[in-house]
């Protein structure tokens, strides 16, 4: 029987069931290949059968070897992993650097009652290299759960905590399924559906052109004018995207539950076939983000993310599915133990007029260049209406510029620095003041003439730095000084210069209403 206390300095193996699951997983990945080999081969051709058997044997052997050579142990202050047979690898993570513990179980793992444990940490140097991460693939689900608790709960590592129920922060509302087609996963949805379809046809050895209906339809569409064809193809893609993204949403988010665990960590669980569980320890949380890609924003939706040290830069850190905007703000606030109006939903200060001018030049100038190019091309080479049609770019660019400007804003609440920017993907970030570990202020020649700067609050979590775009130079420094009080003080220029505030700014101090 498994020892229930994993902290005993003993090297442990992964779960013995991996002897079955590991090779089985690899075999399943090889299955399409094996099927093709077996189907296309003539029955007398035994070589191919032997190849398949040989391949399978190698895969099984590799799985056994991996299980035999992988060991892990948890000591009082480290998590250690040894893997590899020919090339041995040893990985060791200090327990006080552990930031996140991630449990994943694919359908295959679930059948055997196993879970993959991924321990994320902030490593000494960049925090981004692989050595900062330990994967245990896989241990029994009970042990995974136990490891999760032990590894995140530093304080009571020796004495197990009294069992208290976790408190619910959010659960899935199936009405949120309507946001699925509005996310970028709809593109992935197209890929998934088309990919799966073609795979199926390919495995079955069917050429789509051989199917009567398909061929017939293709012929009829080809006979119609071009715009009908484009319209039909577009509509078909749209349908596929909606179906695909809805299916992906359902697979990914069904069973979604966000809880505050008894040890204070934030835990998000979700997944229909593959179940995922991400735990973020509370003291490692540096902030929260509400992200609104353009389409989702148009549908009045948003998605909440956690900013924690130890989450990969590319890792999403999503703590909620795409949901109504108010819900996303509520979840982001709850993650930070703050009222939304004290976090991502606080009224923001508008940025100066110069910021609007800069958004305009940066959006409209490239668009104008494209239009000019199209006119030139038209005049020289083609006799189309490309130049005329391209004029539509100008109002689009202008609209994008205004929208990007309207997104800009920042504020300082009791515990958070809040900044918002972006048009195509608007992000509102509430960063804990304590989480800011430095500042970068940039000023280009153009910004210098406009009297604005871009300030970047540097942090160990999320993308590493969050921008406050195009603020008045004085405001930027005042903001940075307020967030990190002792840091800038010795470098401030004399009082007189610092107090100087133009009339422009008093106008810029109007509040932007919080998004409804």
């Amino acid at each position: 029987m498994i020892d229930t206390s994993p902290i005993n300095d003993v090297w442990r193996r992964l779960d013995p069931r991996m002897l079955v699951v590991g090779p089985l997983k690899n075999l399943l990945q090889l299955l399409p290949f094996a099927v093709v080999v077996l189907l296309t081969g003539r029955s007398s051709d035994l070589v191919q059968v032997w190849m398949a058997v040989g391949g399978a044997a190698v895969v099984v052997l590799a799985g056994v070897l991996r299980w035999r050579t992988t060991r892990y142990r948890i000591t009082g202050d480290r998590v250690e992993l040894r893997t590899g047979w020919l090339r041995r690898e040893r990985r060791s993570v200090p327990r006080d650097r552990i930031r996140t513990v991630d449990l994943t179980a694919s359908p295959l793992h679930r059948v055997f009652g196993l879970s993959v444990v991924r321990v994320g940490s902030a490593s000494g140097t960049s925090g981004l290299d692989r050595s900062a991460q330990v994967d245990l693939d896989a241990v029994s689900t009970a042990e995974a759960e136990h490891l999760r608790q032990v590894l995140l709960d530093r304080a009571s590592a020796s004495a197990p905590t009294v069992e208290r129920p976790a408190t619910d922060i959010a659960r899935l509302d199936w009405a949120w399924l309507r946001f699925a087609p509005l996310t970028f996963s709809s593109l992935a949805g197209i890929g998934a559906v088309v990919g799966a379809g073609f795979n199926l046809l390919f495995e079955a050895g069917i050429d789509p052109r051989d199917i009567g209906i398909v061929d017939d339809t293709a012929r009829r569409v080809a006979a119609e004018p071009l715009w009908v064809g484009i319209g039909i193809a577009g509509a078909a893609l749209l349908v596929v995207a909606v179906i695909g993204s809805t299916a992906l949403f359902a697979e990914r988010w069904s069973g979604y539950r966000l809880t505050r665990e008894p040890d204070g960590s934030l835990r998000v669980r979700h997944g229909l076939l593959t179940t995922r569980s991400l735990s973020v320890s509370d003291e490692r949380l540096r902030g929260a983000e509400v992200s609104e890609p353009l389409l989702l924003r148009a549908g009045r939706g948003a998605q909440a993310r956690a900013l924690s040290t130890g989450l990969r830069e590319g890792g999403s850190g999503a703590i909620a599915p795409p949901a109504p905007r108010a819900e996303a703000h509520r979840v982001a606030g709850a993650a930070l133990h703050a009222d939304p109006t004290e976090a991502t939903r606080t009224p923001l200060r508008r940025h100066p007029r110069a910021a609007l001018r800069r958004r305009f030049t940066r959006a409209v100038l490239p668009a104008a260049a494209l239009v000019a190019g199209a006119w030139l091309l038209d005049g020289w080479l083609l006799d189309t209406r490309a130049g005329f049609a391209s004029l539509v770019l100008l109002p689009v660019a202008a609209w994008l510029a205004v929208d990007r400007y309207r997104s800009l804003g920042h504020a300082l609440t009791a515990r958070h620095l809040v900044t918002r920017l972006g048009g195509l993907r608007r992000r509102t970030v509430a960063l804990q003041r304590d989480g800011v570990i430095g500042w970068t202020v940039r000023q280009s020649v153009f910004q210098r003439r406009a009297g604005v700067v871009t300030a970047e609050a540097v942090t160990a979590a999320g993308r590493g730095g969050y921008l406050v775009l195009d603020v008045a130079a004085d405001d930027a420094v005042a903001l940075a000084d307020a967030v990190t009080p002792e840091l800038l003080t010795p470098f401030l220029s004399d009082e007189r210069h610092f107090r100087r505030t133009g009339s422009d700014e008093s106008a810029a101090r109007q509040d932007v209403p919080a998004p409804s």
Binding site: T125, T309, I437, T440, Q443, V458, G465, A473, A476, L488
Partner: protein, 170 residues
């Protein structure tokens, strides 16, 4: 010191510039580096002139060479007037850049590693960079173009200071 501040174009930011300039040989280093870059541009253009020899290739060569020469002559001293650094017992503070100025401030208490780097040109000139890394992927502060001895000494002092500061710097 104060005269320096007045001589340099005052940045439009209510922060005083960091106290120290980089080593004067950094100007030579930046010139050599720019000249090497110029060579990369001019040599293919020259080849084009020899192979094609039309008027516009000659004009292209002239423009490239003139712009490059202006850069080599003008920009490094300009950058030298702007680039500054300062290390106190609380923070590392740098200012760098000519088209886009960049002020960076990192608290000593959040420093994780201190490195020195010397490229081939820097070795030739006896210069070195000091890079101070924090827990953030975007928070590294780099002091460019110090005398090699000063850089080593600075790195030593910084390492000692950071070891004396408790916490895991995130």
């Amino acid at each position: 010191m104060h005269a320096d501040v007045v001589a340099a174009p005052l940045p439009e930011l209510p922060l005083r510039p960091p106290a120290h300039r980089v080593h004067p040989r950094a100007v030579t280093w930046w010139r050599l580096r720019a000249a090497a870059g110029l060579l990369v541009l001019v040599v293919p253009t020259l080849a084009l002139v020899i192979l094609v020899g039309t008027a516009w290739t000659v004009a292209l060569l002239a423009v490239t060479a003139a712009a490059g020469a202006a850069y080599v002559v003008g920009v490094p001293p300009w950058l030298y007037r702007i680039a500054r650094w300062e290390v106190t017992d609380r923070a590392v503070y740098t200012l760098h850049g000519w088209l886009v100025r960049e002020w960076r401030i990192a608290p000593i208490s959040r420093v994780q590693t201190v490195d020195t780097q010397r490229g081939p040109l820097q070795q030739l000139l006896g210069l070195a960079d000091v890079t101070v890394t924090t827990a953030s992927a975007r928070g590294a502060v780099r002091i460019r173009g110090l005398a090699a001895d000063d850089a080593a000494e600075l790195a030593r002092v910084l390492t000692e200071t950071t070891h004396a500061t408790p916490g895991d710097a995130t």
